[in-house]
Amino acid sequence: MAIITFAQMKGGSGKTTLAKCMVAEFVARGRSVAAMDLDPNRPLGRFVACIPELAGVEVAVPDSERRVSVVVRDLAARHDTVVIDLMGAATNDTQVAMALSDLVIVPSQMSEDDFRGGIETWRQIEEAEAVARRPIARGVVMVRTSAGAIRPRVEGFLREAYEKAGVRVLAASFGERTVWKEMNYAHWVPPLHDRDSHAAQNFAAIFDELLGLLAELPADAAA
């Protein structure tokens, strides 16, 4: 169905946490999903390994024999969705992953560094789209936002700043919650284990919006 990449030039923005939830959500919805962990610390691979419900999820890592393009082609032939988690920097993998992707998700916290990284990432996706000569769906997800009803001033400010720069920001944002930090320790993943929780519903809203971005692609663009 799709190759989905989490990219952001700045580290620590929430790529891997979102990728973990994305993999869990696909599994919870009964979809066939595999992942590629391009962060040398292997956080996504460790997460999948410690959650029994994710035992069937294949997480590929690069090696000296097989290039990223070859590994992803193999995964995409056997799974409906491939999730790629990148390092938080403009690496040689970034342009490769973008060229492979149907959808690129750019997480952004509310610092200026995240904003700059988000804009730079967006420009690289635009460039990848031009080189690939096919549309690549993309969206910025605001991360670590207030989980309460009150939206801090900086979030509205940043949404406006992104929009002024021609960047699409998802309406749903990823709220700051302790449960995301506890996933590896507690082996408790809201999208899998507590789908009625606010946390799971929060991510489901992001997930649905992201699938909506994919649905906007022309039928022959996203294979």
Binding site: M1, P40, A76, T91, L211, A215
Partner: protein, 130 residues
């Protein structure tokens, strides 16, 4: 006569998950492969698109060229000695004529004299030599 209620409106099913898998011959894979070539990565570094190299995936970029891998079987140590000048002149002339370095001429001679010198250690590993 019974009347049935007109059914409620249902949104169309838009399920991107129902799309076919990405075919192995999709052009994106060839493009991605081209972006993994060492010269393309170097160009991206020069242009500022790439600012960090993942050593796990840029092996072709970081590995020494094939021809420069040393095949020697033992570490090299320095040896300094004095010889008559006419000997050195002959060694230099032979080097000019044959391309065999003075070091290797000496090693060949020592092997003829019964000193163990392995084939792998009689190689000229200077840049561009074989």
């Amino acid at each position: 006569m019974t009347t049935t209620r007109r059914p409620g409106l249902q949104p169309p099913v838009i399920d991107p998950a129902a799309r076919a898998r990405v075919a192995p011959d999709d052009p994106r894979f060839a493009l991605a492969e081209s972006l993994e070539r060492p010269e393309v990565i170097r160009e991206a570094v020069a242009a500022g698109r790439v600012r960090a190299i993942n050593t796990e995936t840029a092996t072709g970029l970081l590995a020494p060229p094939q021809g420069r891998v040393s095949r020697r079987t033992a570490p090299e140590v320095a040896l300094s000695t004095k010889v008559p000048d006419y000997v050195l002149r002959q060694l230099r002339r032979r080097y000019a004529e044959s391309g065999v370095t003075i070091r290797n001429q000496i090693l060949f001679a020592l092997r003829l004299a019964g000193i163990e010198v392995r084939n792998e250690d009689i190689t000229d590993e200077r840049k561009g030599r074989k």
